[in-house]
Point group: D2
Chain length 291, copies 4
């Protein structure tokens, strides 16, 4: 019937359109079939091994960040995180130490042989990030801060781009494209949970976003288990799921004394908990073949 023919044309046209669209994006696997491996000095992200990015929510003092760096290094982790420019819901919450925080993080990284990553929130501060950091993070609230994305795209540093609080996968890929179109294709994507009606967790970890992004793009994909769950008791199962599903790495928060942390005290691991977390994940039978 005519109706059936129209349906077939419709389906064919739809598939062509979507194919067209995907082919136009530089981040698309249609454009570049092989995996992009990001080199951070002598460390690689996206080469089939899991990388861990661990550290405090906020850099609070040199001592605090050093304590975490030491513990992190002992567990074989290569990358240290710590916030210096903190996007906080309330203006009365701790806003981070700014450049001073970046320097402390750099210092701890140098002392313990760790790469360092921290969030930059203002386009004009990409320069500071380039100076002090090994990886520049663009956070969830800034995933569609297009001026920041463009500025990050002009940098030569690896960029860790987090999915927005309620961003679709399509918007996430397009945000990544903003960075890449400016010339910087050293980009790591990070799933960190999405906003849903469910209140048992801080966000809902969209675990299948990982295989979708791995299929649709050639970029490495990590999972932030801290912000996606917001619950210490779920960090380990979430990390296991992320590894099983094919993530290139795990991001989580560690603090020497979470109870007195200046931010996110409910969801950071203390050092013994972190050590247990790493040991569980390093067990041979915990590693799932993603073939």
């Amino acid at each position: 019937t005519v109706k059936h023919i129209f349906k077939e044309i419709f389906k064919a046209a739809k598939e062509l359109q979507e194919g067209d669209y995907r082919e136009t994006l530089l981040v698309s696997r249609k454009k570049k079939p092989s995996d992009t491996i990001i080199s951070v000095g002598d460390i690689s992200v996206g080469n089939g091994e899991n990388q861990f990015i661990m550290g405090p929510c906020s850099v609070e003092s040199q001592e605090q960040v050093n304590t975490v760096a030491k513990a992190v290094k002992q567990q074989g982790v290569n990358i240290l995180r710590g916030g210096a420019f903190k996007p906080r819901t309330s203006p009365y919450d701790f806003q981070g130490l700014g450049e001073e925080g970046l320097k402390m993080l750099r210092h701890a990284g140098d002392q313990y042989g760790l790469k360092v990553v921290s969030e930059i929130t203002n386009p004009k501060d990409i320069e500071l990030g380039t100076k002090h950091l090994d990886i520049i993070q663009i956070g969830a609230r800034n995933m569609q801060n297009f001026d920041l994305l463009k500025e990050a795209g002009k940098s030569n540093k690896p960029i860790l781009l987090k999915r927005g609080l309620a961003a679709t996968i399509n918007e996430f890929m397009n945000a990544a494209e903003y960075v890449v179109t400016q010339g910087n294709s050293n980009l790591i994507l990070c799933e960190r949970g999405i906003r849903t009606y469910e209140t048992a967790t801080r966000n809902t970890l969209d675990i299948t976003a990982v295989p979708i992004l791995k299929q649709e793009t050639h970029l490495p994909v990590m999972v932030d288990v801290t912000h996606s769950t917001g619950r210490r008791d779920l960090l380990l199962p979430a990390a296991k799921a992320a590894i099983a599903v094919g993530a290139d790495g795990i991001m989580a928060e560690v603090h020497p004394d979470p109870a007195v942390a200046l931010s996110d005290s409910q969801q950071q691991m203390d050092i013994p908990t972190f050590e247990h977390f790493m040991e569980q994940l390093k067990q041979p039978h915990a590693v799932v073949n993603n073939g």
Copy 2:
């Protein structure tokens, strides 16, 4: 200060209240710390081994369900699924074969040595389910069909209760409680994805619901990877994540010829795909220790 004291009282009171609440539920692990293991004949669900529930979305004919049953059995699966009473968005979609479908499913199960599960949607049909099935499924759209839950609670059959389309974990636990309060504690919970703004998948698989439900209740928890993703290409990664996170089993749809299926043609696996799916999951390194 007084303000601080109030905050402490507030926190203490809140924890007590929630504790109180959890302790009142029969499904709560506070009430029964040990895992509930459901016996379905000689099969156990929740004993630490993964169970698979596989089969067509709808029972369409004896031949169709037999073909799937044979393939399913060959892969070592113990439980066969197939819909006979189909809740469909449109009244013009295939509504299932009703009792005839249950009989075909039973027949296929008997022939191939498989337990059988199918959805019942009307309280008065729980009797039919009890007669023809090994496990009675209560579907997502009926998670808060309390009359159906109560009737299922009066049956002595194991019940597979799916999480509602947009149900909170709290509502899900309370729905389970409706069954258990009527005397039937043979209950299996099933996460099947929740409704969010994201359109890349049919629903968003709430993977951390599994460890939450395992902590909060003593009941087995399975994951329906078909309805949570709605995409054939995501069934395998979703199943790996579910096993890694501690699920007691996986549910998925298999059809001899998905393209001509009377329902859900886009998301069912054909038999070779299903065989690949099972082989991937049975590889030793694919099994994650959930300790």
Copy 3:
């Protein structure tokens, strides 16, 4: 270009498909352009005047429902509501008085000259509803209880169908279609808020669902301001918005003493608040022309 032509074909095909689909539904305005006016005895719903459905969340006693009926009648309201079969999240919450509650409601309605509406949740109880009620309500949790919808469709009573907790407008229209295909086209739709991430209100009132449903269907559309907001302080503004946007009526809960109500105590109006509510809505400048 070929690409452009495909896009045009795609758009045309899409519009045709959707047109096709809408034309197939009996509830569609494409199928019946004129407004359906529902007669409830001598009362009309959908004739351009606002109807109010007011009453307690649950029928608790003859005295309670009589008190409300009297107050409701004095404000010129024509339809009294009161729950007898209560779908409650927890099995330990008040479940309603069942048929006894329907009888009390009927009695109050007869005494004060009001039509009565109450929810039926079990297909087998549609008969009871037909016996005792003027309008049978199908609640949000049962919007896709298709057995109940079909049974309601076999009744000759007007049906008030509420939108599901997280139902799309498309699903809502299809649920309505289930009733109409069985022969009962005396159907009133009711928007009652949808589940979103926002916690300031119990649900999010989807106010533009009203004009969409009025355009897409020929059925009357009411708004339940109590369940959509869950807050007494928002009932009046929500009702004003509903009337402004073209709703055919307003549904809200009134209780003689909300603080001791057996259900929904936080959101019901007491009688003086209800009287203020009605007076505000009856002011001439409060009535918006929906042309």
Copy 4:
């Protein structure tokens, strides 16, 4: 019982806590009970009369913006909008004319006696906004771009702050607080729809956010009917609902030829549609008393 006493303490403590929190915010009505009226030259926003902000999605040329300005002025509208820095999902979409666009808008505003508003997205461009605009808009994607908010707070221009794509009302109030803490309390809030699962509209207009924000803060609240609905056919009912519910004004998009618009072509009104829209809203019976 002890349990009951705990519940009462809990409730009291919770109310105290929330009261405490609200009292600390400068935007809170607890801190300043009287309505804040924003003066934009000789125009007032928040004084009880409705203000309309109308104009094209993007400034495309001097001629285009002049054509709209003329039509807008003829309908008694006081404020002209037009985007110059456009946040677009894809980097390949039209990104706006930048400062050139601001100058064209200013020119049109001066020629037709209209105040002008446009979005600024980069903290460093707040200076440009201060130079060329009467009101600086901070868009939905930048609601938690805290560097931008702080910079806007240092300006002396009125700020129009839109609610984020999936922001809670609590987050929205805190974002407003970021501006006010820097010294600029000339702030207008704008509800523009939130992201939900529903696809019939581009976003879901959260109509009761208006009375909530009017209660909780002392700031004017407008409603953007274009972005909340994304559908031309819903602009008029949405605007009626917004006025009925107590909004201080309406924002909508008008383009001389929407079909060829460089952005948002599906949702802008052409000039005759806009004239009909304004006439409908200016009818006396369309004005609802918000008392």
